[in-house]
């Protein structure tokens, strides 16, 4: 994310940008997400500028991570014309200055791979002046801070043109500039004072004695420029994306510069910024002496320069555009959009167009890249939806999905509830290399163990679920040394000593066998108490015939939006059971309503769970009920004392109304 000053972007474009809200709307749809707009006022309270916070996509960092690039993007979206460089930025032809390529050495093969090119400018001035207000304004609005005139020039290059640059104090340098790979254990003190220990893979900028900078990431302390510096060496370089990304990741340092390099930067930008930088120095210091300019290219990487300028030539036809859009887009429209994009048309025949993308657009390499550009400027909103019904699909439903769907609906009809457990467990066959936690270090190799845990948990919830038996199933993948397998577990259990639910599960399996017309289902593992059985779904898939798997989308008829979800409390609940002889003409619903009218606190549930009628000694029929009140708070753990207070109200009510508590 980056801040872009509307005022300064405007200087790169002819014609006026629209109002802020329009910019947010259109740029968000056609280019990048605009996260925020900050309005800046002058100290006198007059509107000064709007700063747009924009999330630049990774493939567009190469061109749009700076004011000029984003201004060009705005110009494309709003059909405005970008302006060329200002006169002051290109006034001097830099070829008139002395060239001294020997001042820079790209030392070894590794550094050749990591350094695409390294340009430098050696400058002498009499005395530094205050940074011009316009430069300060750009630097500060872009998220930087004004330091001194020389450093501010480097930040101006970064924020305006997207080229990271650096400046060294020449008097603090020992000999020439050398780029090389770090030695293992070597240290560098960064500008912010932090000391880094290098592991030998980082590309460095050094002189003949010291390490000066972590290439493409951050400068070092040794040759730091201060307000007294009068002899300076500016670095304008281009580093390899992977080299910078890996070093930045290893050292945990991310800067605007590293972000730009790790997404690749056009060498064209580097070439052009060298010219702009020299001219900007001369604009601020008209009497500055340009001692020499160095222009060193990496032999290894030079071809990337050539590839860059070849890859952005693309040939396509207008019908390519219409075909991918699904709607007719005319040649006139395409030509107009190419103009908006500032892409040059190199060749044009009746149907074919060959274009060259803007030189900073490293993301345009194939026809589809270009088609995307045309469509986004055309507006995805303007593409209508084109009906599609596939009548002759090559594929049919995956058999395993059909089987799982059958099993889910079958078990659901039999009263079981589906649940999911985690894939990551404390022990299994396959280990995760960088687990979230020690108890999540393996992939589950069975569902049974997760089922046992789920049983324990849900057994404790039985009162609140107003149920006496835990009945669930899970369908999921398990991961074995030699294969991944889909499995099913079924759990039926009430936790009572004498109950034998294993038999019930087996009779469910028998029903499945007969409905699917398959042989005996092999049980992978079974647990007696609680009763849980695990079977392989993949084995049944092999055996079952497709025709026996008609999709019973039973539950699908439910209107999903009619289901009301009630949040659950994470705090424990307290159960109170009451048994009482009831008066004549008793109705539990009435009693429940009356109890609720007592304004009891934290009542989660009231339900009847038993009732019987018997004759007393006099021969009169007498009814006894047992009901349950569950107390639970959503913000705390209730105490017994709190619940007792509420229960007294209930008991009081019952006594007053001729209930005989047992």
């Amino acid at each position: 994310m980056k801040k872009y000053s509307k005022k300064w972007m405007q200087t790169f474009v002819e014609g006026k940008f629209p109002e802020d809200s329009k910019i947010v709307e259109e740029i968000s749809k056609k280019a990048f997400e605009v996260e925020d707009v900050e309005i800046i006022h002058t100290p006198g309270g007059v509107y000064d500028d709007s700063l747009f916070e924009i999330k630049v996509l990774p493939n567009r960092v190469s061109d749009a991570f700076c004011l000029r690039g984003m201004a060009r993007e705005f110009a494309t979206v709003f059909d405005l014309k970008p302006v060329g460089l200002k006169k002051t930025e290109m006034f001097n032809d830099i070829s008139k200055f002395t060239l001294n390529n020997d001042f820079v050495e790209i030392k070894n093969k590794e550094s050749e791979l990591s350094t695409k090119c390294y340009f430098g400018v050696s400058v002498e001035i009499e005395k530094q002046v205050e940074t011009p207000a316009w430069i300060k304004d750009i630097v500060e609005k872009s998220g930087g801070r004004s330091i001194n005139s020389l450093v501010d020039i480097t930040n101006l290059m970064l924020y305006s043109f997207g080229q990271p640059t650096h400046v060294f104090d020449t008097e603090k340098l020992s000999g020439k500039i050398i780029t090389r790979l770090a030695n293992e254990g070597e240290k560098i003190t960064l500008l912010d004072g932090k000391v880094l220990e290098l592991n030998g893979t980082e590309n460095l900028i050094c002189d003949e004695k010291n390490v000066l900078a972590l290439a493409g990431i951050k400068g070092g302390k040794v040759a730091e420029v201060d307000e007294n510096t009068t002899k300076a060496f500016f670095e304008i370089a281009n580093f390899d994306a992977d080299a910078v990304r890996l070093a930045s990741l290893k050292q945990g340092i991310r800067t605007d510069a590293s972000k730009i390099y790790e997404n690749s930067l056009s060498i064209n930008t580097t070439e052009e910024t060298l010219i702009i930088l020299v001219n900007t120095v001369l604009e601020i210091y008209p009497n500055a002496k340009i001692n020499f300019i160095s222009k060193k290219y990496s032999d290894v990487k030079f071809e990337s320069y050539l590839i860059e300028n070849k890859n952005n030539k693309i040939t396509f036809t207008v019908s390519d555009v219409s075909r991918i859009a699904g709607v007719e887009i005319s040649k006139e429209q395409v030509l107009k959009i190419l103009g908006q994009l500032n892409f040059d048309i190199l060749e044009q025949t009746e149907n074919n167009l060959t274009i060259q993308a803007h030189k900073e657009r490293l993301d345009i390499n194939i026809k589809e890249d270009l088609l995307e550009e045309i469509l986004r400027v055309y507006g995805f909103d303007n593409i209508p939806s084109v009906p599609l019904k596939v009548e002759n699909n090559y594929f049919s439903h995956n058999k395993r999905f059909l089987l799982e769907n059958f099993l889910k609906n079958f078990l659901c009809r039999e009263g079981l509830t589906e649940l999911f457990n985690y894939t990551f467990v404390p022990k299994g066959d396959l280990k995760v290399l960088l687990p979230l936690a020690e108890d999540k270090a393996y992939l589950r190799n069975n569902l049974l163990e997760g089922g046992l845990k789920a049983y324990q948990k849900n057994y404790n919830y039985l009162p609140i679920m107003q149920s006496e038996v835990v009945k669930f199933f899970e369908i999921g993948s398990v991961f074995l040394t030699d294969k991944e397998e889909r499995r099913l577990i079924i759990c039926l259990e009430d936790g009572k000593k004498k109950s034998k639910y294993l038999e019930q599960i087996e009779s469910l399996l028998t029903k499945i066998e007969s409905e699917l017309k398959i042989g005996k289902i092999e049980i992978i593992s079974r647990n007696e108490k609680p009763a849980i059985v695990e079977i392989s779904i993949d084995k049944i898939v092999k055996e079952v015939e497709e025709k026996n798997l008609e999709i019973p989308f039973v539950q699908v008829e439910k209107n999903l939006q009619d289901i009301k979800y009630k949040p659950i409390s994470v705090y424990p609940f307290i159960v109170r059971d009451i048994a009482a002889w009831v008066p004549e003409n008793f109705d539990f619903e009435n009693l429940k309503q009356e109890i609720l009218k007592l304004n009891l606190q934290n009542v989660e549930k009231i339900y009847l769970f038993d009732s019987f009628t018997k004759k007393d000694e006099m021969g009169n029929e007498k009814t006894s009920i047992a009901f349950r009140i569950i107390f639970q708070a959503y913000d705390k753990t209730l105490t017994d004392v709190e619940v007792e207070g509420e229960m007294q109200k209930v008991n009081g009510y019952l006594k007053e109304n001729s209930f005989e508590i047992r």
Binding site: V386, V390, T417, E418, L419, Y422, K457, G476, I563
Partner: protein
């Protein structure tokens, strides 16, 4: 035990079932599946994520301490998209002869619901595993217009009201053009409510036209065939639809949650 009461499907299964039914009946799509333990080839390379792509870092992906028989690194799939490449490969192989002879071939139209994994700290809105649903169509003239129709049709049927979409230009290596999809809020219809944070829009997921490199990796001629794909997280839709406050509730085996559905 009361045998008369029906049990409950997991809320995610409810949504999957409904989506499958819509895609099948309205648009002729079918379900495809694939492994959750994948090779880095299918999860990344085949989908045009080169070896140095940041998404492959340890921080985002669960790498497994094992290689497959072809010495490919194993990971927990980070999206359902490897099923796309697996399906396209199968299709390209089976139809190679016909395509070579210039005969017409039947298109691919699949949806893929499945569990995916991301190596990130969990909280109320982030889970290390979640369920994604992906859609893929490969045909001679599949287009952005078709993609828009498919998404709008499925959403309008799912939420039982007219839903419009908004495409925003984006970047995913496996599609070109790449598009973020927003939908008009299914609760308020776009007027603004708490579900859509007063914006009228809800971010749904990513989509686009299948990248020619992905087609090529599967042995499909990108000049002859075009494809579109899109994917979204079902968990997030379920959370918004029912106001479920914590994504972890879906995976912790808690029947107090699933028995409400």
């Amino acid at each position: 035990m009361n045998n008369n009461t029906s049990g409950h499907l997991h809320p995610i299964s409810l949504i999957i079932n409904k989506v499958v039914k819509i895609f099948e009946e309205k648009m002729g799509f079918v379900v495809a599946d694939g492994p959750e333990l994948e090779t880095d080839w299918y999860n990344f390379d085949s989908l045009n994520l080169p070896p140095n792509h940041p998404a492959r870092e340890m921080q985002d992906t669960f790498w497994i301490d094992k290689q497959d028989e072809k010495r490919k690194n194993l990971i927990m799939r980070t999206h359902t998209s490897p099923v796309q490449t697996r399906t396209m490969e199968k299709w390209a192989k089976a139809n190679a002869e016909k395509i070579k002879n210039g005969e017409s071939v039947k298109p691919i139209a699949i949806i893929v619901p499945g569990r995916v994994y991301r190596n990130e700290a969990t909280d109320a809105t982030h889970e290390a595993n979640f369920i994604q649903l992906e859609c893929l169509c490969i045909a001679e003239n599949a287009s952005v217009g078709n993609l828009k129709y498919v998404i709008e049709t499925f959403l309008s049927e799912l939420f039982e009201r007219k839903i419009s979409t908004r495409f925003r230009s984006s970047f995913f290596p496996f599609v070109e053009p790449a598009l973020e999809v927003d939908m008009t809020c299914f609760k308020c219809g776009g007027e603004g409510c708490s579900t859509c944070k007063r914006s009228g829009w809800i971010e749904l997921g990513g989509s686009g036209m299948v990248h020619p490199n992905v087609l090529k990796n599967c042995g499909i001629d990108s000049e002859k065939f075009k494809g579109f794909a899109f994917g979204f997280g079902i968990d997030r839709v379920a959370m918004m639809l029912w106001g479920i406050e914590d994504v972890r509730y879906f995976y912790n085996g808690d029947m107090r949650i699933t028995s409400q559905f």
